[in-house]
Amino acid sequence: MVTEVQLFTEGGQTWEALAPEITLLLGVVMMLIIPNLGDAKWRIPMTQIRLPVLFGGKRFRATSDPQLPAMLAVATLLTALWQAVMSQSGEGQTWYLTSGSGAEANLMLRVDAFSRLMESVFYVALLLISVAMIDRMPAKRGKSLQMKQMINNRRQADFYILLLMSAIGMSVVTMAMDLFMFFVGLEIASLAIFVLVAFQKETPEGAEGGAKYFIVGAISSAVGLYGLSLLYIWNGNLQLLSNTVTGQIGLAEAWGTMDGVGALPLLGLCFVLVGFAFKVSAVPFHFAAPDAYSGASAPIGGLLATVSKAMGFIGLIRVLAMIASPEAESSTVWMMGLGIISLVTMTWGNVAALGSDNPKRMLAYSSVAHAGYMLAGLTAYGAWIGEGNDATTGAGEWILAAILFHLAVLVAFKLGAFLVLALVELDGQITSSKDLAGLAKRDPVIATAMFIFMLSLAGVPPLAGFMSKFLLIGGIVKMSLVDAASGVAMSDLHWTFWLALAVFLNSAISIFYYLRIGVVMFFDAPPEDRRKPLARAWYIRFTIWACLTGTLLIGLNADFLIEYCQTAAATI
């Protein structure tokens, strides 16, 4: 069912379409107010009458509870998740949200299966992170800092406000139909994430990782915005789709109908891609990623590796799949370039991960490699469109669904691995794989979970990581069998077939360093200062089990998620 709504005018419709975002916004407001409620009174001047204003002063016992912000955040995210999922149950609703009406309408947001799926993925990831952070926030961090100060819930409120703000930005990213709107969403989320990365400001690593990540992020998003302005100069608007009522020509149509490839749009698009490439940490914009991952606390590292990366990929899908899809053979060079970037990205990520001893950095490099795999999928998608009518039917949708599936299941095992690190990190920062040594002796269940996450990252069946790699390669292979009806010779295959082979060989390389973690955990003696059983930290354990269940169940039967991803991919 499709509904067209002018934003914030026609009564309930906007609220219904944007229910999760509004919930998040309310959550932020509550988070600002509730932890500050106290017994403050205001004396009416010249009198002795004191009126309770409830804001400030000595705070109530309930409102100064250190776990209150976390509970608020969890409740908010759960509500938003429920709203996002429910709006797509049954026959999916689609809303077109415009600013202005009639001849001045600009399509700003589109709420559909795709945006709801990605929103749900984001909310689930943030939910897991906020649950895990309940144990992490009052962590002892050096003796100089007073425990009392750490337990102070104002700081926790800051953290969860930022988390919810990033959720709002991400939601806008999933829905945006105007590139500028997209960038605004991206910036809201990024600015919150910059602070989250630097949140451990008491540690030298935290400040350093945050500063490096911020500088590279700020410059790349500025470059992206500059690209947007060039596209605006070129086209006069930044709409993705053309509008039949107003006669505005969207970027997609303008790109498709231009003669040859103009310098201005190409330059603009390249600059925009720089902004996204930083988010997905594709080579050559990957330098800040390992520093940020290892400087930030482990759950935030997980956020960078899953959610932040997914945002970048939504951008890439929007720009590459919707706007710059090549027409016929003229753009093969363009796709070839992307293919080479994907090849370099995955190989570099794996090779760098081989040489890294810090588990967090290793995960950062492995996430670079995963970005390479998904870029290979995007390349195949572009090539599929370029092949025009000869192409295998349904291969493009398959690839997009595979990318969405991969982004979704990353939340299970990548975030899970980071959460295990978060649990181990309660005994002190993790700086080398030695800190994981003997984990199996200290806590067999957690070690097994970590090992399963590692195998899943490497793509060993029957885990979720295998399913996602399988779907991705399947899509690429399906695309490359351009003329499958009659017998095919190997030489008839599209060149993207070799990208599939490259992905496989790369995942064979990657098994080296994933296994190394397993070996260290199971067969090394724990270091002197890490002999005791792991902290009980029930909340983190709970999230690890949730991730583990997800990894196993999706690996054993991914039916429902694949179907959901296919529905979502069809609406892009």
């Binding site: 292979v477 017998g487 098994i511 080296f512 039916d559 694949i562």
Partner: protein, 564 residues
């Protein structure tokens, strides 16, 4: 007080995990398998899904989870129950397969095979969007491998009964068995690949936990080698999947291949079929292993514990041979004809190279490992003959080697265990110090060399006959290689076992301790294997007939030439 609280907390955690795990297993089971007691169109009961595959994997998982939660002291107490439970499960599986073989559970006559038709065939929907099914079934080929696996499991457990940390060791063997049987019974390519990779994980842990001093290197090399090869095979699987409109079904794929060759066409086109053949071949040759992809095997064998070596040599290598038959032969007949020279070359090179390198070895286990390489070369040769007898011989070789090589490794393991060395020259007069070990060593070596009346002989002579039929006097090359190696081999063994006068010569690694003979457990395991070797040497037709039926069915079904 603190310690007490801590203990309480750990108990609570354990209970919670147990309960969660239990419910998760129940949920998965009820979700994945509609009903165990369902019968298929032939009125057969599904003896495969749960009893042979699901049960051992789940049971071993539960047993290990149980063990991992016990404290060190309690582990000693639960060691015996866990080992007994594993042994019981494996005997249960053996009982099922044996009764299936003798037609007790279901009236199946394994000796008469039709190409691409399977007994106990069951199919449950697994992943409907991708068209993946839990599709199991057995023909004579897979049944002989399944029977071999179930035969070996209790033997391995008995032989290595006294292995340390038995609470993990025996369940791992059980899990290994389930995964291996899963490979052999899968009739769905996706499922096949899942089990193919699943076998790596228990073996990885077996080598890492109980292996020798270089075990890390060996385990990782083993994992990475076979993983790399199998991802290339996976690329082939995916390509095959899309070329056939999204079908993973092995029976269906084989049927369409058969239909194409009946029409006189080349299935999928000659070029594509060759490419797919090579992709699959690579995966199987690395697993087999054939020269030049064999380098992981000596490392893995030398470092693996006895049980790991026994399973690795006994069944895991056969996955390669099984895959060659199931895919390379049955699905890509035209490519098989095209690449007959390749198989022939690889087979001959593996045979000759394996035997020659074997002669130069100082390390007992390495020697056995290279003899495995040369025996696997015999399997490749059997396929390369393109004769029904050659196929039969290759399958019988898989079966016979599956009993003989575990015995070799059991002997090596006991030798290492009691004499703390594996060096061949370090010891003289074994028969005097450890008479039982000496006897078993001599016997297993003879079996490995192909002494008449023992199982290995039947396989080797059958391959040679088929080779003679196919290539004439070229048979002298493999024949003489086998004979010469045998002679040298016997001589070197004889030095270790009998020479050295009455007192013999004890290895330095013993540090003056008095040598001991094999334990009762080791002895009973070896005894059973020796009896089986003699049994299948004297009465090979017990399984030979069904393998022969299978080979003929393959020829009449798809290869369509050769004949008897």
């Amino acid at each position: 007080m603190g310690a007490h609280q801590n203990a309480n907390f750990r108990m609570g955690e354990r209970e919670m995990i147990l309960i969660t795990g239990f419910f998760a297993i129940i949920a998965i089971l009820t979700y994945m398998f509609p009903s165990f007691a369902e019968t298929n169109s032939d009125g057969q009961i599904d003896w495969i899904t749960m009893p042979l595959v699901g049960f051992p994997i789940i049971a071993s998982g539960v047993l290990m989870a149980f063990a991992s939660m016990a404290t060190r002291r309690r582990k000693r107490n639960i060691e015996m129950p866990i080992k007994l439970a594993s042994l019981f499960f494996s005997l249960f599986m053996l009982a099922i397969t044996t009764s299936l073989f003798f037609g007790i559970l279901e009236s199946i006559n394994w000796d008469f095979s039709t190409f691409n038709s399977y007994e106990l065939e069951f199919s449950y929907a697994w992943n409907t969007t991708l068209g993946v099914n839990w599709h199991v079934g057995m023909d004579a080929l897979s049944f002989s491998m399944v029977w071999l696996t179930t035969l070996l499991l209790p033997i391995v457990m008995i032989t290595t009964w006294e292995e340390k940390a038995g609470w993990y060791h025996h369940p791992l063997i059980l899990m290994m068995g389930g995964a291996l049987i899963g490979v052999f019974v899968s009739l769905d390519l996706f499922m096949f690949y899942v089990f193919w990779e699943l076998t790596l994980i228990p073996m990885f842990f077996l080598i890492l936990k109980w292996g020798g001093s270089e075990r890390r290197y060996a385990a990782q090399k083993f994992f990475i080698y076979t993983f790399t090869a199998s991802v290339i095979m996976l690329l082939g699987i995916i390509t095959l999947y899309f070329l056939n409109d999204g079908s993973f079904d092995i029976t269906e794929l084989t049927r369409s291949s058969q239909a194409a060759s009946d029409r006189g066409d080349v299935w999928l086109g000659a070029n594509m079929q060759n490419a797919l053949f090579l992709m699959f071949l690579l995966g199987f040759l690395v697993k087999l292993p054939a020269v030049p992809f064999h380098t992981w095997l000596p490392d893995a064998h030398v470092q693996a514990p006895t049980s790991g070596s026994m399973l690795l040599a006994g069944v895991m290598l056969k996955m390669g041979g099984y895959g060659l038959f199931r895919f390379c032969v049955s699905m890509f007949p035209d490519a098989l004809v095209n690449f007959q020279w390749l198989l022939l070359t690889i087979g001959l090179v593996s045979l000759v190279y394996g035997s020659l390198v074997c002669l130069g070895q100082k390390n007992l286990k390495k020697m056995v490992a290279y003899s495995s390489v040369s025996h696997m070369g015999v399997i490749t040769l059997g396929i390369a003959t393109m004769e029904p007898l050659g196929f039969t011989a290759a399958i019988f070789m898989m079966f016979a080697h599956g009993i003989i090589s575990p015995m070799l490794f059991a002997v090596c393991g006991s030798f290492k265990h009691h004499y703390h060395t594996l060096e061949i020259g370090a010891m003289r007069g074994l028969a005097r110090h450890s008479p039982f070990l000496g006897v078993f060593m001599m016997f297993s070596w003879m079996a490995s060399l192909g002494l008449p009346l023992l199982a290995g002989f039947v396989a080797e002579i059958a391959v040679l006959i088929a080779f003679w039929k196919a290539f004439g006097w070229w048979v002298l090359l493999p024949g003489l290689t086998l004979a010469i190696t045998a002679a040298y081999y016997l001589w070197s063994m004889q030095r270790t076992i009998f020479e050295g006068g009455l007192e013999g010569e004890l290895p330095e690694s013993l540090h003056g301790e008095s040598p001991v003979d094999i334990s009762r457990w080791e002895g009973s395991g070896m005894m059973i294997m020796a009896l089986l070797i003699v049994l299948f040497g004297i009465l090979p037709w017990i399984v030979f007939d069904m393998m022969s039926g299978y080979s003929l069915a393959v020829f009449t079904g798809i290869l369509g030439f050769g004949g008897v």
